[in-house]
Symmetry: C2
Subunit: 409 residues, 2 copies
């Protein structure tokens, strides 16, 4: 008998009909001999409705009370799902985060889970019940309701799976798995059978919105096998698992991620003295702007050419922060460019395979695409190119690294 934790997001429980469909699916899993814990989000639209109510009352609502308000969204869903199950004759019991109890720190609206008491859940499972838990929420040491921030339901599911030592944590979404790249850009993108936690983390941080980064981190830390599946289509989905379970014969590259959310700022002609990087990035950080890629070269006449990327929404503020410090930096030339895109190859196979970078650069050169910035890590190579080449570049790389699905006859 396997113990499975399943998580259904807001869209999957977005209407009475969908809640009933989820109930049937869950009941089927139990009938097949599994113990099932279900974690649900608020019905789609509900959280936004509640936030709008709060904003009518106060521009900056009290975070403690915001959590009291928002947590009602998931509380409604757990009750409705249990009603649907019990109406089908399947014993079920709902728990809010506080009832489980999912103990968190005091950080309202972005709380972190500290401990989970699994006694009540386990007793219900042993009594043959399906346990339905409100995602996204917990309770702090004072008994105040906390929430984990957007996407927190994934984290609840993984944390519960870890606490219960579940055999698998299944995240049901509106996609049928993790793909080698975005199928809207590359029609021949393929669903991955397996991917490692590290790869998934890189893919997630690079814009693949299938899973929340925190949940993947958590699953990796506690080695909880995680599976991404489609809520309403059958299929094996994608298993996210630890490194050593991955087939050694797997391709070097698992996936290609890309993002249009970035912009770069070039600082040209700052003096190439020790500490210049700190002088440039200090004011940017002080303005609470996150910096992604950083490249520094010595230019002509001993001046530094310094380039970094930020989120496209932050580029104006980053430039202003630098202009305010211009004298300190030797009045360098500032060039901002938001017509860029970032493409990243991700794969644990890179560790044992040389030549991935040169193969990547070669494939891009063949299409006449200029690389503006390069950044590498152990399992990732990222390049910045002009935005207009994005689709062309992704397709060329997808093909060059053998990721294309076989052509259909």
């Amino acid at each position: 008998m396997a113990l499975i934790v399943q998580k259904y997001g807001g869209t999957s429980v977005g209407s009475v009909e969908r809640i009933q469909a989820v109930a049937e699916k869950v009941a089927r899993f139990q009938a097949e001999g599994n113990q099932v814990v279900v974690v649900v989000s608020a019905m789609s639209g509900e959280t936004n409705r509640l936030i709008a109510l709060a904003k009518e009352i106060a521009d900056e609502p009290s975070p403690r009370e915001m959590d009291v308000l928002l947590s009602t969204g998931e509380q409604c869903t757990i009750a409705l799902l249990c009603m649907a199950l019990e109406n089908m004759g399947v014993p079920a019991r709902s728990y809010t985060g506080g009832q489980v109890r999912i103990l968190t720190d005091h950080s309202h609206m972005k709380a972190r889970i500290e401990a989970i008491d699994d006694a009540r859940v386990r007793a219900d499972l042993d009594a043959g019940r399906i346990v339905v838990v409100a995602g996204f929420q917990g309770v702090d040491h004072d008994g105040s309701i906390t929430t984990l921030g957007r996407g927190g339901s994934d984290t609840t599911a993984v944390a519960l799976a870890a606490a219960l030592k579940a055999d698998e944590c299944q995240i049901y979404t509106d996609v049928d798995g993790v793909y080698t790249t975005d199928p809207r850009v590359v029609p021949r993108a393929q669903r991955l059978e397996k991917v490692t936690f590290e790869e998934m983390l890189e893919l997630a941080s690079l814009g693949s919105k299938v899973l929340q980064i925190r949940a993947v981190e958590f699953a990796g830390k506690y080695s909880v096998p995680l599976r991404v599946l489609h809520s309403f289509k059958d299929g094996p989905g994608t298993l996210i698992t630890v490194d050593d379970e991955v087939d050694m014969e797997q391709p070097v590259i698992s996936g290609i991620a890309f993002s249009r959310d970035e912009a770069k700022i070039i600082v040209r002609g700052a003096p190439d003295t020790p500490g210049i990087a700190y002088k440039i990035l200090g004011p940017v950080g002080a303005a609470n702007i996150e910096v992604d890629m950083i490249v520094q070269n010595v230019g002509k006449d001993g001046a530094a050419d310094f380039t970094f990327t930020v989120n496209r929404n932050d580029v104006k503020r980053a430039r202003q922060a630098l202009e305010a410090e211009s004298a300190n930096l030797g009045n360098p030339e500032l060039i901002a460019d938001d017509k860029i895109a970032k493409i990243s190859l991700v794969g644990v196979g890179m560790r044992s395979h040389a030549g991935v970078a040169s193969k990547m650069f070669g494939a891009l050169a063949e299409e006449g695409i200029n690389i503006e910035m390069i950044s590498t890590s152990e399992i990732k190579i990222s390049v910045v190119i002009a935005e207009k080449y994005l689709e062309l570049a992704v397709r060329a790389l997808h093909s060059a690294f053998g990721l294309d699905a076989p052509a259909e006859d």
Copy 2:
């Protein structure tokens, strides 16, 4: 410094604007030097919305899960009210029933309060905070959410006031107090300054919907001074208090209640043998129909004439129950009449004043109104009359017992 518990119902918190108006009112009370605990209901319409959702899922939703669902209504209100208070710079803290903790029995959807832990509320009050508590809900010994049934927020307020030994429990409603009778029928009806718990119980059970009977019972049991006030109009309202605090010089009659909700059934010609009342009312009770007034007379030829009243909605079922037992009852004649009304005079003054009944019957006779049934208790006299005379009778009695407000010039 007084400790006041205030309760605002669903209409009083039915919109963001009204919640803000309540926040201002509550803050004013605190600024005047009071410690304030506020009990709120769900925003008007919210409970019905949630019930409709549940009914879409299941015809008979699990009571435990119904409570999980319904309790979110008040939880939203406490959060929004606290946000409004904090936005005005007034420290406030919200509590669900479970957080307080309001301990109840296990009877979902109609739980009874067993104990209240006042430690957290008291600590907050002492720290200068306004405490906002979700009405209508509690938590049982297993930590499951329970609700107290419709109108349960009044009970929550009274129970909290009793636990905290509050100086007063104020129930804010859409009327400015308890009246001598319904002002829509008698324009010269007057607001009562004071009324006793016993009188209020009689008035409430007779159709005066100002307060829930359970809350009045609770307040009487624990001698919690209860005051009914209008949510958005200033005024002293009506104080409901224990007998010995009532002015001995007060009028004999406090109020006149009436109801159109009843129907009578006459059982004519059943044998007048011991046990005939039980034989008649047994089948009615077995059909789960509540009987109100009962009158029995010996008719001609030693047969019993037996009359009783039931809720108008139950009259058909009551008649069917009797017809099924007709042979047992000696095949009596059954006459149902739903064109009746009940009028009750209520007043603790009756105890020490003779002649109330005869004065009542005289006033009705003077208007040519026939009395069909009579029933008396220590502080109440009820009569059944033809429905068409209802308004006439109430006005005549209101005037005869000196309840009319002085005529305006």
